[in-house]
Symmetry: C2
Subunit: 263 residues, 2 copies
DNA sequence: CGGACTGTTGATCAAGGTCAACCTCTGTGG
DNA sequence: CCACAGAGGTTGACCTTGATCAACAGTCCG
């Protein structure tokens, strides 16, 4: 049985998230722990995965911040998402020939590189893990849709506020207690490329929000002064992330049926 | 064995796509056919899935066009994607409590509603089906990233050209021979909400492209006059979609290992 | 024939981009 | 200890893209 192999603490932020929303069984957790053998680290600015690469592997971010971006020959670029500790960065690459976007470390990071066959193996042994991945992928897709809505239809204030709100919420999820001050290693340059604005306008917008007493920045520390107003600005929030539906929870390795026979 | 249950032709466009890129085994195809029992149809304008709904089911579009959109209380909306015949519209809803976006029929459509346990069952019996879904999800995610790049960093001409280019390519994939004239039931209103532009500006942009001899419209028929120039405008194309990597193909029900024992 | 819907065109306006100067840190080397 | 460089941030002036408003032209349909 997988359940009693020695478990070296794999990735606390991820576990915290999964426990809260998906409720994986002990076998699944053990299988997950086995995936995290190939630990690595990288300095800020390093490219963990380059657009066009064919080296197929999923990345699991354990500490630090990273981002996924796609850029054009002329220098324009769009940041697709910021990756926080506990984020699994596309297992989709397994079924794809070349990466369509790059992943860059924003700060120094620790991460795990998961090879395809390792994951496939784990999936076969602990089917509940598949559910976890599926859930993460679904949450991720919803987040991408929020970004698309933001960039396509919100104005500058809303986009910037939305980004700050999103990141604060995501940090809440992986911290044990929601902090009053958030550490966010974001240059305005990054915010601009994530929101589709220019650096200058991001500066203006942030100053505006600060002047109105919505938030306060100092160094890399962000404080949300008016949760209410920030949230109101960050429209597309819906309730995110959502827990796995009841019918699928408390199942451990069970995959969504009502009968109790394992596998 | 599933392989010899009678197969009522399920959804030709989907099969065409899968055969070309994923190469599913006979068991997988049979399992797929069994999923398509709950056939339905809907008129243009009908809402197939409403934002906030908790009814969890995947939709498989068999004929006609649909779209996924998300809208704000004040009327702004963003179209996330257009759904063409053969598109599977988020099996992600299975692991989610409420839909974060709506799916609307653009034309009259035929579609299949796949219930969660039906799919879960099929996945257990024909594991290769999981690979198909995984592949589709990965392609879909890449497409969403293209949209995000477009809306965030491309100008109006590039966005509109990009959309036309994308749709033409996708139509090619599900047709047997690439047509010289594409039927696209797109009002400029839809194009606007998909590209994050205003209707008026879409009109101007399209007229511009037409004046320059890049494309030609008449009624719902679109003709690409200069493939080269349209493609050049539609930057973010990468090569999409990508076939499944060799190591995973020709596997039928095998899931990415080299040994031949089934399951 | 009249209305609804979609597309086109012109005039005007505003959100946000661009360019450039300047400022504040922080770290580095003399 | 100071001088300096470089990165990131702020501010102002000006310009451009695309939004908005409004009028009008086709087309479809009862």
């Amino acid at each position: 049985m997988l359940a009693d192999t020695p478990v070296e603490s794999p990735c606390p932020p991820l576990l915290r998230r999964l426990r809260k929303f998906v409720d994986p069984g002990p076998d699944d957790l053990a299988a997950l722990a086995l995936l995290t053998r190939d630990r690595r680290q990288a300095d800020a600015g390093t490219c963990l995965l380059r657009e066009g690469d064919s080296g197929r592997a999923a990345l699991l971010l354990c500490s630090g911040w990273a981002m996924r971006e796609r850029s054009l020959p002329d220098g324009r670029r769009q940041i697709m998402e910021f990756l926080l500790p506990g984020d699994m960065c596309d297992p989709g690459s397994f079924v794809t020939r070349r990466a369509d976007s790059s992943v860059l470390a924003i700060t120094a990071v620790q991460y795990v590189r998961v090879a395809p066959d390792l994951l496939m193996d784990a999936l076969r042994r602990a089917p509940g893990l598949g559910l976890c991945l599926w859930w993460m992928a679904a949450q991720h897709a919803a987040l991408m849709r929020s970004h698309l809505l933001a960039v396509g239809r919100l104005d500058a204030r809303e986009r910037v506020a939305g980004l700050v709100w999103e990141l604060a919420r995501r940090l809440d999820l992986i911290a044990d207690g929601p902090p009053r001050v958030y550490r966010m290693p974001l240059s305005q340059d990054l915010i601009a490329d994530a929101t589709g604005l220019s650096v200058v306008h991001v500066s203006r917008t942030l100053c505006g929000l600060e002047r109105e007493g919505v938030l306060h920045r100092h160094g890399g520390s962000w404080q949300i002064l008016s949760r209410r107003r920030l949230r109101a600005l960050a429209k597309p929030g819906i309730d995110w992330p959502q827990a796995l539906p009841e019918s699928l929870r408390h199942g451990g390795s069970r995959v969504g049926t009502t009968d109790d026979t394992p596998c």
